[in-house]
Amino acid sequence: MSEPVLIGSGMTGGYGAADILHDCTIAVEKGRISVIVGPNGAGKSTAMKAVFGMLPLRQGAVRLDGHDITGLSPQDRVAQGMAFVPQTRNIFPSMTVEENLEMGAFLRRDDIAGTMEEVYHLFPILAEKRHQPTGELSGGQRQQVAVGRALMTRPRILMLDEPTAGVSPIVMDELFDRIIEVARTGISILMVEQNARQALEIADTGYVLVQGRNAYTGSGAELLADPEVRRSFLGG
């Protein structure tokens, strides 16, 4: 198997004295969807933040296209083609949809109109509301803005921290469909999800974390079929 686009391997570290992650490995391949699931407090979001450079690592490395980026700041990683959608506070509420997208493309000096059209194509509702402040939108629409903003940098890797938190099941299905669409354009997706079953259904690779360690790893279908995983994490 060729080297994945992005891999955080053997990551160990935490915010203070105690480590949260222990020898944890997360990878995503080009155009594929990787999903991190696990019980509350398993370190799912922490693992993603570690990959994005928001957590100091004591051991392990993060490689992007084979290059070691462990020492880069999150901002530098954005410039290298990674995009991150935080779980909360992931939009500029007083700014319009269009301005949010523009801010997403802040680092770009070329014409962003094409990318913006692509985002509007992906999320047609945003095109309708392009001149409305995002603070006035519904929860699902805000998540679309957040994903759209991240896509504006034309990233190779899109990282989503619980994108469906707090949205209705219908909106969630819709959002997952869009994420699959994004992956089809060749963008790799790394996603942390609370709704493990639905997430694994669309996952090419799934990582089940328990207490900061890799507990189970496999394709989404494998994990869904694994009786152990089903019993422990998917509620039977």
């Binding site: 999150p74 901002q75 954005v78 410039a79 991150f84 935080p86 506070r89 992931n90 939009i91 500029f92 509420p93 007083s94 700014m95 301005e99 523009e102 801010m103 997403g104 802040f106 680092l107 903003r149 940098t153």
Partner: protein
């Protein structure tokens, strides 16, 4: 004719002065609200920043006057304004580098920054007194009136005169131009939008590649311009005295809070709310009332709700009412 005279008197003594004062407060409050939105603290040194910018302008005005430069009917200070803004900008950027940057990197709580700004206030206050002294400085050398009271009476045949001072007209025109430029900048330029983004959500702004240092720098530059313009307009309209600028802190903050801290449009609305309330409540309505009332009912008293010295009480009362009933201000600022 009587109602017309009453209207003219009301305009002359309330509407025109309050409009000019409101514009000055609005510019001051815009500075406060920008600092609050971007740097996230209430800057107690703002009144003295205004004094410093005005002082720079006055010094440049004197230099221009000595060189024989004049704008004719307009005050020379308008020509000197860029110098004042530049001096103020240098001071603010230097302060940021020497003082605020350290605390920003440490992400200290906003209240500590407020205390730090108190120290800065002392320093600015001392600097201004050191350079220009504590006395009144009148630096308005333009024509005094756009429309004089006598001229107005002759024109209209009314008993009551209406005077518009040049400084008042200049205040309003300058304020409108300044605010228009500011809003255009914030809404239509890349840098301006990045400032709004930073104010909205600092972490996400960082993730989007917006440079915090640049945003902070631009903010100080804009604040320098706003504070200097506000200070100079106030000085032209009234007079320049360092201590009164320090006292402007209360109405300026009241305006920013009433409008909603962090909201530029709120700062402008707040400025006019405070100014009109202050002037209306401390104006003696005897004249206006006696034009309107039948002769038998004419009043002897001043019909003044509050003595002029209580104008602070007006800012304060409005502030308290807003804090009690709508703590985020009229325009929903970011303060919870």
């Amino acid at each position: 004719m009587e109602p017309l005279n009453a209207l003219v008197a009301f305009s002359n003594f309330v509407v025109i002065p309050a409009t000019a004062y409101g514009a000055q407060l609005a510019l001051g409050a815009l500075g406060v609200t920008l600092i609050y939105g971007i740097l996230r603290f209430s800057n107690f040194a703002h009144g003295d920043t205004m004094a410093f910018g005005a002082m720079g302008t006055i010094l440049a005005t004197w230099a221009l006057q000595a060189a024989g430069v004049s704008l004719g009917p307009l005050p020379t200070a308008l020509l000197a304004l860029p110098v004042g803004i530049a001096a103020c900008a240098v001071l603010l950027l230097l302060t940021d580098k020497l003082v605020y940057k350290f605390y920003r990197a440490r992400k200290v709580s906003p209240v500590l920054l407020v205390i730090v700004s108190m120290g800065v206030m002392f320093v600015y206050n001392g600097l201004v007194r050191f350079v220009i002294g504590v006395d009144d400085q009148n630096f308005d050398d333009g024509a005094r009136y756009l429309i004089g009271a006598i001229q107005f009476r002759q024109m209209t045949g009314l008993d009551e005169g209406l005077a518009i001072r040049t400084s008042q007209a200049i205040t309003v025109v300058t304020a409108v131009v300044t605010v228009a430029i500011l809003f255009w900048f914030l809404n239509h330029t890349r840098t301006g939008k990045s400032m709004r983004a930073f104010s909205d959500n600092e972490d996400l702004a960082l993730l989007s590649g917006i440079s915090p240092d640049r945003v902070v720098r631009v903010t100080w530059l804009i604040v320098a311009a706003l504070a200097t313009i506000a200070g100079v307009l106030y000085g032209l309209d009234k007079s320049f005295k360092p201590f009164t600028y320090f006292q402007l802190l209360l109405p300026v903050f009241a305006a920013a809070i009433v409008g909603g801290l962090g909201s530029p449009i709120g700062a402008i609305a707040g400025g006019f709310v405070i100014a009109f309330s202050e002037v209306t409540l401390t104006y003696a309505f005897k004249k206006v009332a006696n034009y309107l009332l039948p002769e038998s009912l004419e009043i002897d008293g001043l019909a003044q709700l509050l003595a002029t010295d209580y104008k602070f009480a007006v800012s304060f009362a409005i502030l308290v009412i807003v804090l009690l009933f709508r703590p985020t201000g009229l325009f929903r600022g970011k303060s919870a």
